[in-house]
Every structure is written in C-alpha cells, then in structure tokens.
Point group: C2
Chain length 435, copies 2
Amino acid sequence: MTPDAETGHPHAPAAATVRAVHDELDERAARLDAEHAQTDLRHRFLLPEGLVHLDGNSLGALPAAVPPVLRRVVQEEWGRDLIDSWNTAGWWDAPGRVGDAIGAVVGAGPGQVVAGDTTTLRLYQALRAAAVLRPEARVLVTDPGSFPTDLYVAHGVAAEVGWRVELADPDAMPVLLADLTARGERVAALAFSHVDYWTGRAWDLPGLVRAAHDAGALAVADLCHSAGAMPVGLDEHDVDLAVGCGYKYLNGGPGAPAYLYVARRHQPQFVNPVPGWHGHADPFAMAGEYAPADGVDRARTGTPPLLSLLALEAALTALDGVDADAVRERSLSLTAFLRECLESLVPGVDVVTPRDDERRGSQLSLRHEHAYGVVRALAERRVVGDFRAPDIVRLGVAAPYLTHADMVTAARAYAAVLADEEHLDPRHERRSTVT
Amino acid sequence: MTPDAETGHPHAPAAATVRAVHDELDERAARLDAEHAQTDLRHRFLLPEGLVHLDGNSLGALPAAVPPVLRRVVQEEWGRDLIDSWNTAGWWDAPGRVGDAIGAVVGAGPGQVVAGDTTTLRLYQALRAAAVLRPEARVLVTDPGSFPTDLYVAHGVAAEVGWRVELADPDAMPVLLADLTARGERVAALAFSHVDYWTGRAWDLPGLVRAAHDAGALAVADLCHSAGAMPVGLDEHDVDLAVGCGYKYLNGGPGAPAYLYVARRHQPQFVNPVPGWHGHADPFAMAGEYAPADGVDRARTGTPPLLSLLALEAALTALDGVDADAVRERSLSLTAFLRECLESLVPGVDVVTPRDDERRGSQLSLRHEHAYGVVRALAERRVVGDFRAPDIVRLGVAAPYLTHADMVTAARAYAAVLADEEHLDPRHERRSTVT
C-alpha cells in the first residue's frame, strides 16, 4: 500500500487505486446482474427506493401481491361475506393449502405441511411427536448453536418426556450418534437447523438425515433460515419432521404463521399435544371426544390467524415460476460477490460465514467489536442488516429482490461507516435490548 | 285462533291480527332503539346494507377502524420501515399492549393478559400451569358441555399430568367439589366456560370461583362467549386463569389471536410449556438457557402474527368509551326482545337459552329439527345465524352493532322461512361439514 495523497494516512491506498477498485466492482456487478437478469424479481416487491434491505432473513420485503389480497380479505371476505367465507373464500382449507404452497418451496409433496401457529409451537409439536414415534429412546441430540427457541423447546420437551439432551455441532453429530448407538443408547431424534441463524453456515442436511436414520433416530429440521433461499428437499432426503417460519425468505410479513412438515409415513402415528377442534376428524360434529383428522391436518390447533395466513399465501406467489435451484444460484452469486466487495473495500473484514458455497446459507455474518453501532450506522446509510449479540453484523441476502449492484452499495457503506467511525457515534450506543 | 281469511288455514290468525302484531313490534322496536340510542355503535362497523348479522359470536363484524390501520401496518410499517417497526411501531410490545386492551374489556388490570396464539394453545398453557400451581392435586373438574377444544385439551393435559377428569354441569360443580373435598381428593382446577357456546347459558362465574377456592382449586375460565358482550370482572372475582379468542365479540377478524389471563399472584409460578424466545427475560441476549420474563410476558411463545394482532388492536377501539355494563344492558334488551318477537311470530318456537337475564349470555339458541336448513334459508333472507349440530339455530347478538329493529327483522324472517317451508328446500340439505 502507498500513502494516500489526500489523507496522508500511511496505510491508505492511493485515491486512484481506490477509484479503480470501485469502478471494477461496479462493472462486475453490472455484468453479473445482466447474467442473472432472469431471476431478478425485484418488481414483485414493494421496497423503498434506495434501500438495500439485507434483513430478509429477519423480515422479508413486502411482496406487491400482498396489499390487494389483504384488501380483498378484509373488505370482501370478512366485511361483506363474513362467515360464508369459511367456505366460499376457502378459509377452512387455508392451513393445508398454504402448507402445500410452502411444501412446493421446500420439496415436500402435497398433504405433508400445515401452516399456522408459531415456530415455537411447531417445534414443540415436532419434538413431542418424536417422543411418541420413538417411545423407548432416551436421548435427544441437538446443536448448542441452535436458535434460542429451539434450545428452550428441546430442553422443555426433554424434561417432559424424560430425555437426556446431548449437544453437538452438526458436523460432529454423526460421530456422536455412532458412539451413542455403539453404547446401546437409543436416540429419539436429531434436531438441527438447516442453516445456522448466527453464522449463516449451511449444514449437510442429507448427511444428517442418514446419520439419524442409521442410529434409528428421527431427523427434525428447522428450516427458518433456508426455506425460500435454497433447495431443501424434505421428501427427497427422507426428513421426518420439519418446521419453519413464514416471515423470512418466504416474505409472509411480520410474524407470518409458521409451518410443520410431517412426512406421510409418520402421519398415522402423529399425536398432537395441543389438540384443537380444527384438527378433529369431523370438526363440525362438535364431538366431546377427540379423534384426529387424517393426514397432517391433525396438527392443526384452533382457528388460524387468517389475515396473517392469507397474507403469507399471497406472499408465496412472489416465488412463482422460479425454482429453489435458481434462487440458490442467484443467492450464492450474490453472497460470494458481497464477500468479494467487502474484502476489497474493508481491510481486515472478518466474515464468519463459510466461503465454500456448499457450506453457506444466504447471509454473510461479519464479526465486529462494535457490531451494534455498525448496524445502526449502516441503517443511516440505507443499508439495513441486523445485529446479533454479542458481535455479529448479519447481512441477509434475499436473492429474489437483491442485485449485485446492491452488494457493492452495501460493502461501500460498510467501508464508509468504518472509515468515518460512524459506528462509534454515541447515538449508536446500544440502549435497548430490542433491535 | 281464528281461520285465516286469505289462506283458509284453520289455525292461522286473521290477517288483521297478524298485521297488528307486526305493527306493535315495529313500534316497540323504535321506542327501544330510541331509549338505547347512546349504545348504538353501528357507525363504528362496516356491515353490508340490509344484513342482520346474528353471528358476531362466531365472527364479529368488521370495525371501520381496521382497514386504515391494516393499510398503515402493511404499507408503512412492514413495507417502508421494515424491521425498524419492531421498535418504532411498537411491534415488540404488541402482545402485552393488546392484552391490556382486552384486559380493560374483561376486568383485568394491566400486566395480566397477553394476546397471541390460538385459544387451543392458551387453554393448554392455562391447564399446564394449573398442574404446576397445584402439584399434588389429581382431579380436574370440567363441564361436559364445554366447547370441544376445551374438552380435548382438558383430557390431553389430564393424561399428561396424571389427572382424573370429573365432568359436571357448572351448576352442579360446587356440590361435586364439596363432595370431592369431603372425600379428601385434591382438585387442581375447575375449568368452565363463562357462557355456554351451544345454549347461550351464562354460568355463575363468581360462585364458581368461590367454590373452586373453597376446595383449594383454581378457577380457569373460558371467556370466548362472554368477553366483549358482558362484564367478566376477572380481578374483581379472583379468577386465577382465563382464556378467550379475539374474533367473536371482540371483533378482531377471522382467527384473530387469542389471549391468556394469568392473575398477578400466580405469575411468578407460571411455567410456560411452550417456551419461545419472545417470553425470555432478555430475548436479544439470545441465551441458550431459558429464563422466563417477569410477569405475563413469560406466556409469550414465538413471533406473533402481527397483521392479525394489530387488526385486533384496531378492532378493540370499536368498544372505546362504552363500558361492559352498558353493552350488557343493551344486549339483554336485544335478546329479551328477540325472544318476544320470536314468541309472537313463530308458534311453538323452542328457545333453549334461559329466559332469566342472569342466566343468559348474548345469544339465543333455537332448537329445530331442520336447524341446518333454517340457517341456510335465513341467510338467503339476509339474516345470518349459524348452525350447531345436531339441531341448534344459533343467533348471536353483538349488541354494539345491532338494533331492536334488527330483532324484528330476524324474527320475521324466521317466521317466513318456516311458514313457506324454505328450510325444507333441497338446496339447503346439509352436504358439507363446514358451515
């Protein structure tokens, strides 16, 4: 490096060099965006002009299809047709219908996914079901780096059903499972996230399922950070149970309903610990005895939040006609290019997310001592990521509505924030625990 | 009765007499509506012209406040401000804030009600909490006439925690409790609905709470059919736990989130069987160990469905400035008058709902052999009630948007349907179980 002619900083590159780097990135971005023009679905989303939304892994952007559908649901279905809409507008069937639409995104054939409730409840149902399906097992294996809810529910269900919880990084799970099996221990389930929420690391889902099955255990996958961003292949890989939320890469809106996948082979034995009338075999008979519906409908609880559920249904149409492989290809190109931009423009940037495509989800997590301040300062520059304690700047890349040009913009903003020490501005001190 | 001059039917009253009865009812309706003009809130709702919506106990009418709020939530909070809205639009605090607004309707002071999830889940949480609060008890007393979900959850939780379920009509519960106590049996809880969904009968909530407490048991009330229609007085009457839905007399829209009341004295011991990160003491610390939040927030699960939840919040403003006593007074006047109209115009009408004000909720249930056909034929006459198997025509009276004139219209339609045998029309045969 040569001293910067303008600032005189001994390690700063010359202005001309900097300009050349920027120009080169802009040109590459334009070329890559032209190559990927077919998967650019930005026009299907209502994003504010000039905003680079790198937080679609927390809250997906608003699909253009949602507002007119919600207007119809509110004014016509609720306001005008009232209870008739249970039949005429398909409200009753919505959990299964939306479930099937999600199934199409995560590689599950019809009749195996039901939408509604929260991811927390869906996890609870999945693990309680695992206990019923593997009644003699006494161990649950899960990842200590799981999203907190997953750990809370895992420990909670374990305490209820008498499991010991064994924690292992997913890469270490196959060895642990083989070891437990060798010792004659029966493992009920291996519960893991397809993509780590914190590091953005993608785990080997097919390999984990095989390891689980080799040990006689079930594979329970949390798809929150993969569904809508990459192929999952639930049926193809023989996953047993899976859950996910509707508000990240599925773009269903704040708190959009979650979903549960129960592989068809397990449905007859699936027991719902939270049995409501919507999951009854003959709900309108109003029978006093519970008799579960056939199929995945038995996982329904009570009346689903239809405004949120039908918004999710409309949101899913934003992915119509583009398969998960195409989204994945675009996503990998975007995240690889974002890394390249950051590495070019931000000396010493610490990217936690794996470089290897196979091991990367659809985000880049950057470690920074003042991560909270960085996220706030980036937001002032209209680049929105999020902070994950204690030191992670999480940049989620929802491929359908982001471009390679956005990646340059984001990296440039990141560099500018650090260069100008905007992240140290006292206004960006962490005051609230809500970010 | 004298032969009808026009039809010649030997038992039909003379046309002049019929006209006089109708005129008299119209005049009474006009007088009563004038007397109750102050509680007529029809202008706060967007109901189709000419429709008499007697199904607000299934799905409340659309409050005029909802569409503009939802537009703002979708376009501005979600679409424009995205994750910032967790703070700036108060998304994070919504479950407690909406809970407090519901609390104001059901007589619960702030910090004791949390909104979100389904009634099914809230019941599950309430009964699991009862098991923790009464660890040595082995009996749950509940009403065999409860709404099916309540029975399914009661039996489900009983099987989990080792309770025997004793069934008794709420009127018989005090005697049963005394008897169980005399035999040295420990009762965990008395679970009952404030108003019976089928008959519209209101139970003696204060008396049931006293009986429960005398037996050392908890009182767990389901408010689905009373909240918003009559005073409940949760704090005043020392109820321990209560649940309800948001979509009936609270007018929150299809599948509007449910709520849970945990009396402040029980909150420190409340254990959430479905622990999600939103109920954590320090959610954004993303700790691997669950530590429940203080207060009723610990009953939160995962991310709530905000479109539905904020629609419910807007809907609750339709009840602003009118207290539960005033709504109740209007409701009793309407249901008493509806009975009178029916008894005047429909010979042999079989009203199942108690005549006594004290024992009546906010509906009239009419027994009819062809109840399904009656409901369908009434709907064609723009009078919407609902059918409850096997033989109930349920006419819910949501007082804020109904008038005494509507009661005459409904009774007249009921009489006309039967007189013209419209209910026997083959088009109205029951084909689907979804009504």
